[in-house]
Amino acid sequence: SQFKDDLPTSPQLFPPMSPYDVDLPIQTTEDVLFGSQFNQPKELPADFSVDLSFLPDITQYNKEQNRSEDGHETQKELDGSVSRNEDSGIFMDGSSSSCPDTTQPSPEASGVCPPLTPMTPMTPVTPASESSGIVPQLQNIVSTVNLACKLDLKNIALHARNAEYNPKRFAAVIMRIREPRTTALIFSSGKMVCTGAKSEEQSRLAARKYARVVQKLGFPAKFLDFKIQNMVGSCDVRFPIRLEGLVLTHQQFSSYEPELFPGLIYRMVKPRIVLLIFVSGKVVLTGAKERSEIYEAFENIYPILKGFKKAS
């Protein structure tokens, strides 16, 4: 045929993701690659009637209220919180596919809440023989949650022992709890950031405790859209690394500026993780939304670093 197909010279494997790409008919490659199960909330049918029996803490809170063991609770608060809880929004945990229809045993009877499916396995899936044998340790998890009610920060700072509030310095209450050892930033909009936990589960538990404190202070706090925003891990390859060499061979991913910072900043594309690599062999990995990204990033960098070790 005399008509030639006009093909682009470089097929675009990574279509640019603009904020305006709302109607993507197919899952783009980037989604597949960076595929975080937390990005797209599960869609629920419009007539989903809210059955909250699978939400252990809120249900338990209702039951505790009814027992009235706590002299501080007022009737108004009880009524208010009960009705709120029934309206409370979908509990977004990313893995909420399992529970709604099963009848859960009453939490107070068993004392144990049926665990939701853990988000990712606790240990890496790759067998040790093929991998480095080193498992990065999680050091910090940052998560956010929406308490879905306006908060009086001054009031919170007045009534809570573990709260700090300096509006001139920062427009949020800084609250801390001992177990899990974490810090929360609580904003008047009802949004909250939780930092310092060492695992996703600990972060969620901590966030729930902060929500509880806020509830006990009289606010109709809910627990909506809990999401892990960032995970930080670290490990040690146990040999020193010539950073000036690494920046030479991996220039397109590396930034090494000893004038600014002693470590080399390595921006890995797949998975999309930033690694800080130090001369001592210590590596920090950050930017993950799931712990598998941390493990995968380390398994990718380890042979590169090891390759350096043998060079002579």
Partner: protein, 379 residues
């Protein structure tokens, strides 16, 4: 007066009628001029100017830089010049650019890192060897002056050559990686200067040296000096005819020339390097010092063996070989946290019941609230 035809008002866009587009390019023009001026001040080759300007134009078009403050735009020009220099291995430090722009280094750093990321620029590491030449250019010790004692004046080329060798030595022995480059050059320059005429210069301190040379004394230089001397002392312990002397950090300076000449051999013997048996068991320095096995590469991307150096079956030497490692691994700082996750932590599911009492420990009692209110004088 001629009144304009009101009919055409509705069709004219604001940007067209107010010359907004010209304003934008004026900003660009100003920025380009600044980049060009900077290149002239630094006496850079013409081609650098063209590259830096094109980076600047690209950057300004990028959404992350289009609307930043004027202050940042000024720094952006400096960053483009800096990147261009580094890509051509033209040794210029951020410190230099910052001082020329009267910029805060933190702000410069953030703009630079953004530029590198947004434009996807690969910037090779700073070449220390080249930095030595440009840094030494600013030293005042190469000509006689009224405040410089005669024996302190030194030949520039000799000093450059020796400083470069010492800097290379520092690089091979892990003193450079991850460290700020300038203090290393300062310490190396000092040692090289001292060693060229030790008799009259050994009594001069690093501080005084920098003052006379008319350069700043960066605080880490003292530590770099200490580390360099430790390396040199260990190397000296491998030269037979030096072992009779009790070397210390002053006296070793006198022999830097010899040590540098035989550094490959000496490093091999003074430190445990790669996985080779023969080098740890090698008989040191009883032969003439000129004999050294041709250097097997020490510093090429390699890493030191982390296992301990085998010491059995070797003669006891003064200062038995230690592994060649970065100082942070030789003197590890005390661990602040043990941080190993224990079993109970790993068992957390996140759904645990939360007791009232646990939450209540965080709430103030009424007396406490009263007292707190009084103290804070809140309504």
């Amino acid at each position: 007066t001629v009144w304009p035809n009101t009919g055409c008002f509705s069709e004219v866009a604001y940007s067209q009628s107010t010359g907004q587009k010209e304003q934008l390019s004026r900003c660009l023009q100003r920025g380009i001029r600044r980049v060009q001026d900077l290149c002239k001040v630094l006496q850079l080759p013409r081609v650098f100017e063209e590259t830096a300007v094109s980076y600047f134009q690209r950057a300004l078009q990028h959404p992350s830089f289009h609307l930043v403050s004027l202050e940042k735009k000024e720094l952006l020009g400096g960053c483009c010049v800096f990147v261009t220099c580094r890509q051509h291995n033209w040794p210029v430090t951020m410190g230099t650019i910052c001082s020329l722009l009267y910029a805060k280094q933190e702000l410069f750093a953030s703009v630079y890192l953004s530029l590198q990321k947004e434009l996807g620029l690969s910037v090779p590491a700073l070449s220390l060897a080249d930095l030595v030449k440009t840094h030494l250019n600013s030293f005042r010790l190469f000509q006689h002056a009224s405040d410089v004692p005669a024996p302190f004046v030194e030949d520039k080329d000799k000093m450059i050559a020796r400083t470069m060798q010492i800097v290379e030595l520092a690089s091979e022995t892990w003193l450079v990686t991850g460290r700020h480059p300038v203090p290393i050059v300062t310490a190396a320059a000092f040692l090289s200067w001292q060693s060229l005429q030790p008799a009259s210069r050994l009594t001069c301190t690093l501080g005084r040296f920098c003052k006379l040379a008319g350069v700043d004394l960066p605080p880490p230089a003292h530590l770099r000096l200490k580390e360099l001397l430790e390396i040199l002392l260990r190397m000296a312990s491998q030269l037979a005819w030096l072992r009779v002397f009790n070397m210390d950090k002053k006296t070793v300076v006198k022999h830097i020339g010899d040590l540098l000449q035989n550094r490959i051999f000496l490093l091999k013997n003074a430190f445990c390097l790669e996985d080779r048996e023969e080098q740890c068991a090698a008989a040191p320095g009883e032969d003439s010092p000129g004999v050294g096995s041709p250097g097997f590469p020490l510093a090429t991307g390699g890493a030191a063996q982390e296992e301990g150096c085998p010491s059995e079956g070797k003669r006891q030497r003064e200062g038995s070989p230690r592994p060649l490692l970065p100082p942070c691994l030789i003197n590890p700082r005390k661990r602040l946290r043990t941080a190993a996750p224990n079993a109970s932590d790993s068992a957390i599911t996140g759904d645990e019941p939360i007791s009232d009492s646990e939450i209540e420990q965080y709430l103030r009692g009424p007396d406490e609230i009263r007292a707190f209110r009084k103290a804070k004088a809140w309504p």
